[in-house]
Symmetry: C2
Subunit: 121 residues, 2 copies
């Protein structure tokens, strides 16, 4: 047993090669992280996706894959698309509130100018 094997190689019960594609992103002290992406995408697909990316973008790709996988495990029907819908609803509500507030300002300004006009009559 090599205590320095990454979480992926431990999970897959294999030797962790020096140029392991998983090793920089799946430290042995966080086995859940690999288990999540493996469960949703499969180790082979994750490895393939990482190998197709420039090394400097792989850490961010792993984080976003982990995030999506966690969302899919928590919500097997909608995954993080459910979160996108919620955010879109929230934006729409905030935009509606903004439009109403801006309309209130306009009405207040009209009333104010009407009052000023009547004062001078």
């Amino acid at each position: 047993m090599n205590p320095k094997r990454c979480a992926a190689c431990r999970y897959l019960r294999r030797r962790c090669p020096k140029d392991c594609v998983f090793s920089p992103y799946f430290p042995p002290n966080n086995p859940e992280k690999f288990a999540c992406v493996h469960r949703i995408y499969g180790a082979g697909n994750v490895s393939k996706m990482l190998q197709q990316l420039p090394v400097q973008t792989r850490a961010e790709a792993v984080e976003s894959l982990c995030f999506e996988a966690t969302c899919r495990i928590e919500d097997p029907v909608y995954g993080c698309v459910g979160m996108i819908s919620l955010l879109q609803t929230q934006i729409q509500k905030t935009k509606n509130l903004l439009a109403r507030t801006q309309a209130e300002i306009t009405v207040a300004q009209i009333k104010h100018s009407q009052n000023q006009h009547s004062e001078f009559m």
Copy 2:
């Protein structure tokens, strides 16, 4: 060749069984839809995820998986997590604008009441 084979069974070059788990959601006239989810998740994982869900939720699950897969193909580093970040930024901007507008209203109301107060002095 069975012309009624679903897009998944065509892609996997296999017979489409009567109880095919893919068939209701991957019609033969849309081969791209299956190709996308297969490329990101693999047919086996998609089949496993669908089989773990009640039948009435599977159509929505397929749509969200296709959406996530398409996002991942278009943006291999961030996938649809990139979209979530954009939406969160948009919400923050709209909230800031709303807060500014509400502050403007408060200032205008204070000025208005000060004016009215001075008129009666």
